[in-house]
Symmetry: C2
Subunit: 556 residues, 2 copies
């Protein structure tokens, strides 16, 4: 039987056969200009629309491979393979950049965007047109040289930021940050010459949003949060001894928890929530993430802290939320692999992860019916702990300096601060050199604590060092949308909380599928999606109400 081990070579050949079949089906998208012009005469727009879809599908397929390469890099790649992988991903990114700005896309769009064609299109086709235009402008309007310059700058800046944070010295990073703001402004003005650059930045992550709209929401949110936090803190102080007891009796004191068992618990929960393991995987990585190649192949990762199982568990629930959104996308011919089938925005994506993490995973019903029984089953030493102990232990409010470890009550203030500063940087009202002062002033004013140094202050997040501005608001928009969706789900699903207590978590799928997952990028903005899904405007009121009720009950 020794020769039974087929050689790599023959395997490669059979793959090529399989592949080349796909090649045969693939569109020849490198039609010359003249072919294109000829094909336009006497042709209905539907043919052009189909051609646009084919071009976009090929892009989507290649993006899937880019995601696979990224996943492999984070999950299992041999350590020595890093450099070659970077070159591979760079080569595919370059191919994608050329395809995304293929002039033929521009020519097709110009025809389809005429009034008479638009009048004949349905909602989906109009959305497709909108999304293709957004992408085409983004990729075709910025010259290669500028992209290269920005890329080199952000890469260098990232390294400088790492050093600056280690030394806790913002002044090292400041000149780079200034250049990053300048170049991002320049790029934004090329993409949308008539728009405020910061709005264009926001639009990348949260389409259809603007700084003005976010400001209105965030001002109301701030106005509600500041007194709430004050009230909760006062309540905590009036029960000093209890609060202290709380700290000493934290779940963290019950470790260690075997990592393999934690992983099993997470798979169990993922299954219960409805993650489809035939269309996805759960792996381990340094930072938890969700990556999707297609709705039929969505991979999530979590990480496990031996001392504190809630880290891995809540991380897994969070990623399962992202993954359900990705797996729930519609694979019909009109949607599959097209931009209208992509997640609507970062805020909506976060609304899905936070829906499951906070509305479900941090709820009393979940810990009564699912969480505590599961913990008792897998970890003998947790058997004495009541559901309410778990619930209280993972729901704590505590003013703090670091965004990523903040609780759900104080987290939005970290975001509001970043939003205000970014906006100021982009409209020139805040100078880069004043950033640490402006940062610290707001932490004192909103959170009542002052960062002792830049590392725990203005240098804590990597976003800006990568030239990423306008992303932060999405985190909190997501939290707000999650509460609004949960409230709407309660209207639709009889006895929802009771179902959660019974562990019937999948009862939520039809609602989310219809209202969010299958809507893809058809609604033009998170605002529009929330209105469609809940009948209400996107607003911070339900979020504030949720926090007030939950934490007043916990602390007051």
């Amino acid at each position: 039987k020794l020769q039974n081990t087929s050689t790599m070579v023959y395997n490669t050949i059979t793959s090529l056969v399989r592949l080349s079949l796909q090649l045969a089906k693939a569109p020849i998208f490198a039609l010359t200009n003249s072919t294109f012009r000829k094909s336009m005469t006497g042709q209905r727009w539907a043919t052009l629309y189909d051609e646009l879809c084919e071009l976009r599908r090929e892009i989507s397929s290649l993006e899937g491979l880019l995601n696979l390469a990224d996943w492999d890099q984070q999950v299992g790649m041999p350590t020595g393979g890093g450099e070659a992988r970077a070159r591979q991903m760079g080569a595919l990114t370059a191919v994608l950049a050329r395809m995304r700005k293929d002039p033929k896309i521009g020519e097709i769009l110009a025809v389809l965007e005429t009034e008479e064609v638009r009048n004949e299109m349905d909602e989906m086709q109009l959305a497709m047109l909108r999304e293709c235009r957004r992408s085409f402008n983004k990729y075709s309007r910025v010259p290669d040289d500028l992209i290269r310059e920005e890329t080199e700058l952000s890469s260098m800046s990232y390294n400088i930021w790492v050093e600056a944070r280690e030394k806790s010295d913002f002044s090292l990073f400041a000149p780079y940050l200034q250049q990053l703001v300048d170049i991002r402004r320049k790029i934004a003005l090329l993409i949308a010459p008539d728009r405020e650059p910061y709005d264009t930045e926001i639009d990348q992550y949260e389409k259809g949003m603007s700084a003005a709209r976010i400001e209105a929401i965030f001002n109301e949110l701030k106005a509600g949060l500041l007194p709430l936090i004050k009230k909760l803190d006062e309540a905590k102080e009036s029960h000093v001894s209890e609060a202290l007891a709380e700290d000493s009796d934290h779940l963290k004191n019950y470790g260690p928890f075997d990592v393999a068992v934690q992983e099993e618990v997470c798979k169990h929960i993922a299954e219960k929530i409805g993650f489809d393991f035939e269309k996805g995987q759960l792996n381990t990585s340094v930072h938890p993430f969700t990556i999707s190649y297609h709705p039929t192949d969505v991979r999530i990762t979590s990480r496990y802290d031996e001392e504190y199982f809630a880290e891995g568990l809540m991380g897994a629930i969070h990623e399962v939320g992202h993954a359900l959104y990705e797996q729930g996308r519609k694979c019909t011919d009109e949607m599959d692999d097209l931009p209208i089938n992509e997640a609507l925005s970062m805020g909506v994506h976060e609304s899905q992860s936070l829906f499951w993490e906070r509305m479900i995973g941090q709820s009393a019903e979940f810990w009564e019916g699912v969480g505590a029984p599961l913990m008792h089953e897998y970890f003998d030493k947790l058997k004495p702990l009541s559901p309410s102990f778990f619930y209280k232990s993972i729901n704590r409010m505590q003013r703090s300096l670091i965004r990523v470890s903040a609780d759900e009550v104080t987290y939005p203030l970290h975001i509001v601060i970043r939003f205000e500063l970014e906006r100021g940087l982009f409209d020139g009202s805040i100078k880069v050199e004043d950033l640490p002062r402006e940062w610290n002033r707001r932490y004192v004013e909103y959170l009542g604590i002052e960062p002792p140094n830049d590392a725990e202050g203005v240098l804590q997040d990597s976003h800006w060092s990568g030239g990423c501005f306008g992303y932060f608001p999405s985190y909190t928009l997501g939290a707000m949308i999650a509460t609004q969706l949960f409230a709407a789900a309660q209207q639709c699903i009889p006895n929802l909380k009771e179902e959660i207590r019974k562990g019937n978590l999948r009862v939520l799928h039809p609602f989310l599928r219809e209202k969010v997952w299958e809507r893809g990028s058809i609604p033009p903005s998170a605002d529009a999606l929330v209105k469609e899904a809940t009948g209400e405007e996107l607003s911070c009121k339900p979020f504030l109400q949720y926090l007030d009720e939950k934490y007043s009950r916990l602390y007051c």
Copy 2:
């Protein structure tokens, strides 16, 4: 700590930053024709050569991702992801097809191939020129329509072949096989109009080889093997009782062997042979294979039979042999990611896997010093078995019908039969409908056994159904080259067999590295490589001598 779970989105952004840095470094290979012409004036050929290298490096990087997608598909992809993966690989294959026949490559080659430039080139550059020309002709001379036609035909034919084999009815497959031969002939004549089509087919897998050269070798091989097999069989018959005892006392009777432990043993052996786990992985798959994205990331798989550990073990050793060749390629600037750094041929690749599988893994010294002690260590129940028992158990000669399960003595005759038939099909001397008769006649004549049906005869291999002709000879050329390399290694390395007995298997690396791994595709053929490495012509004599000595000792 709950928000510590970074979202997929932010991860994606940081990846893009990292990626776009690579993009910035990537060559702009879509230079227009006019740019190209301008750049030629007053420029030395070295610049064009560099440009050619850049074009080829980008292709190599993308091929790496295609291999990753294939690996993932075979090792871990969720079952639901198959269709999307096929589309993804198809899209990348289409991109690669366009890049491989980029007219700019043709233009550069035309300049570099002039006499005066060639006179200034060194060995490596000339080899690079040769390999780029080979690839460019192969991809640019066949029109897309024909490739599409062939691809659809092979895909359909594969399915028909599966059915025909199930029903053991060659007549179902015959018309497709005829069309496959016709289309492959047509393609071969487009690639090399002045060459025999079958020679062009062979050249794809075994460059620099021809049917005439293989025929000469195989005739000599056949003339040596037929009497050897007869002699060994007579010896077996004269010790009938012993042979029977042998059968009843086979290793297979000592199972089951825990699969996880088998895997550990294989990792142990892989490590001992010198597989670099920092630049590779060992995984499990349905069919063992080796896949390489780059010398720094080479992944092998094996499979494990609970009843028979030698299956997984020898499979792993075989794949480690392939992998060492891939990991051993030279990553200098002049070689890395270029066609001259690819494996020279399928025969040379097989010589590396068979070197380790047969010359080492099936040797008495290996079982004395490494194999038996390891088996005793991991499997208590094998402790009573002597090294010689293991050695005899995995080295058995037995005439049989099925190529993939044949032993090393009879295996070459399976190959000779296929070679003779393929050659006849291509030169018209054998008709497709006569194939089963011609097949069976040869099995009787060379191996003394007649296939009872088509499934165990002419329909047993999938190669032809995928339009793959001219590949089979490489298996046996590889076996011959392995013995020649081992003989040469014995000249170079003092007490080689003693070193093997001591488990110092890595002592072979410097020899193989210098003679084979780092030579890549610089020598123009396996013939040239063997001459370089051993000082002798590629020949079947050392192979016949090896088999005669080894099996005479075992059986006579």
